[in-house]
Each structure stands twice: as structure tokens, then as C-alpha cells.
Symmetry: C2
Subunit: 142 residues, 2 copies
DNA sequence: TCTTGACTTAGAGCGCGCTCAAACTCGTAG
DNA sequence: CTACGAGTTTGAGCGCGCTCTAAGTCAAGA
């Protein structure tokens, strides 16, 4: 698979794929005889996983650390696991924080809802003027 | 309250507070006769709210939009509410995404746990060599 | 043969959100 | 009186994660 297809299939741009390779987040890809990158479909699994780390806010430098451990292969499992576990905890903490913020947001939005309700209540006390357009006996009442 | 104290109480740095004022996220603060910012405690509420927006990933440009609506005062409530509701939805979506990633992370970590378990099982089949240090009859057994 | 377009490289540039530096002014304690 | 510490301004610089440019190579189709 060429870089263009990988881009399409991974959701990254070709630019980003090259950038990731440059910094070591993706392995140095095999090239065909005209120096073009030729990918195996298995790279998609790795990119997808990197995407999850990214989504969950892991900085690239930590992904790099993980990638390096992975490259070093067996004997690094405990360290990789520890890294992921630390990350998992930070994600959990962040989710909790977000949920707390959501509550505040709900309250705030509720406040605006009340304001709007008060406005409606107030509107409801207004004289006919505001209701005029609704008018009965209009020739356009269907 | 001077900027130093506000910094301490808000968790922002004085630099950041000035920066926020410069870009319009914080109102132009009253100055004392020697041009120093003098804050009312009420600013803390606003800073805290901005913090929640920030925590939940709202870009500064959107906070600015909200801040401007707020400055314009009444008549902008519906728009402010809509802005917060849109944001709330995006936060909820993000939380869902994070939770999905957490599941993947759990699986991945579980994979490492199994590897380690297999290693332990393997270790358990090893001859005494590995158990030696536990040895009874040691002179140092208290 | 010529053109097209997908690819290559090294390196510059960008948007974001700060963060800091330089040079200055004050008010107060010793 | 002087030294200190906390403040002021404008503007430059930084770390992150891309994103794009320029100039070139190559293979396949008209």
C-alpha cells in the first residue's frame, strides 16, 4: 500500500504520516525501487492505537516512549503496561473532571433557561400589543 | 486585590492574567493611582468559569465570543445559552469517546497482564534455581 | 515522446496558548 | 535616602503538533 492509500485508510494526511515516521512514531517504512514507501496493512492497527492515545490526550513524547519500548520487543512488557496504566488513570481522572464540568454547565444552562422562562412569563403578562400578529379574524386565518 | 494575590487565589500566573486581559477574556481591570490593577473578588467567579471552559477543551476564541456576549449584557442570553449547549454536546461526545478508548486501553493492559501471567506460570515450572533466595535455614532468618 | 500526478526530501511556517524579557515606575521598610 | 519587591508596558520567544512549500524523481497512459 502506498502512502496515499494509507492516508485515505488511516485518516491521517500523507504529510502527517511522513512526519510521524520522521519523529519515530511510525517505523521507517520499506521503500519500493523508486524510494516510495510501501506499507503493509498491519500498520493500520498501530496507527489506530496511536489515534486512541492521541484522543485521550497522550503527548507525542509519551507515545514515542511507548513506541521505543515496543521496538525493543520482549522484556519491555512490564514497562509498557505501567505506562498504559498511568495513562489510563490520567484519562479516568480527566473524564471525572469533565463530568464535574458538565454538571456546572448544566446548572449554568439551567440558569439561562430560567431567565428565558421569566421572560416568557413576563411576555405573557404583556398587553395585546405583543399578541397582535396572532390576531383572530385575520383574513389569512386558514 | 492586586494581581499577585489574584494569581495566588485563581491559580493563574500574573502573566496569564495580563494576557487574558489583553485579549479580552478578562475585563480591563480598574487601576489604582499608580496604574496597578486592583481586582474585586467577583472576578474569581468568572476566572473559575473560564477554567471550566478551558478544562472542557473550549478554544479561547469561543470563550472570547462568550465573554463578548456577556459584556453586551441582556438580549444575548439565548445566544450564550446556545453556545454553552453546543459546547456541552461536544464535551459529552468527547467523554463518550474517552470512555470508548478506556475500554480499548483496558483490553490492551489486560493483554499485558496475560503475558505476565504466562511468564509467572512459566517461572513456576522452573527448577529450584529460581527459588533459591527464599531458602530456609538461612542464618539471617530473624 | 510527452504529460500527468503521485510520490520523494529537507526545511520553513503556522495556530494555539501561554511565558518570559527588558526597561521602567511605585510605595514602603530600614 | 536608598534599596527592595511588586507592579507596569510592549513585544519577542517557546513548545506542541502538525502543515505546507520547493524542487526534484519516477511510472504509466495518451
Amino acid at each position: 500500500m502506498k502512502i496515499g492509500e494509507l492516508a485515505r485508510r488511516s485518516g491521517l494526511t500523507a504529510h502527517t504520516i511522513r512526519y510521524y515516521e520522521r519523529i519515530g512514531l511510525l517505523p521507517y517504512a520499506d521503500r519500493d525501487r523508486s524510494s516510495r514507501r510501501d506499507y503493509d496493512a498491519s500498520i493500520l492497527t498501530w496507527i489506530e492505537f496511536l489515534g486512541r492515545l492521541k484522543t485521550t490526550g497522550m503527548p507525542i513524547r509519551d507515545m514515542l516512549l511507548y513506541a521505543e519500548l515496543r521496538d525493543r520487543g520482549s522484556g519491555t512488557e512490564a514497562e509498557r503496561r505501567a505506562l498504559l496504566e498511568r495513562h489510563r488513570e490520567s484519562v479516568r481522572a480527566h473524564v471525572d473532571e469533565l463530568n464535574a464540568c458538565l454538571l456546572v454547565l448544566d446548572t449554568k444552562i439551567g440558569g439561562y433557561a430560567e431567565t428565558e422562562q421569566r421572560m416568557k412569563d413576563y411576555d405573557a403578562t404583556l398587553p395585546e400589543r405583543r399578541r397582535k400578529p396572532v390576531g383572530a379574524r385575520s383574513t389569512r386565518t386558514r
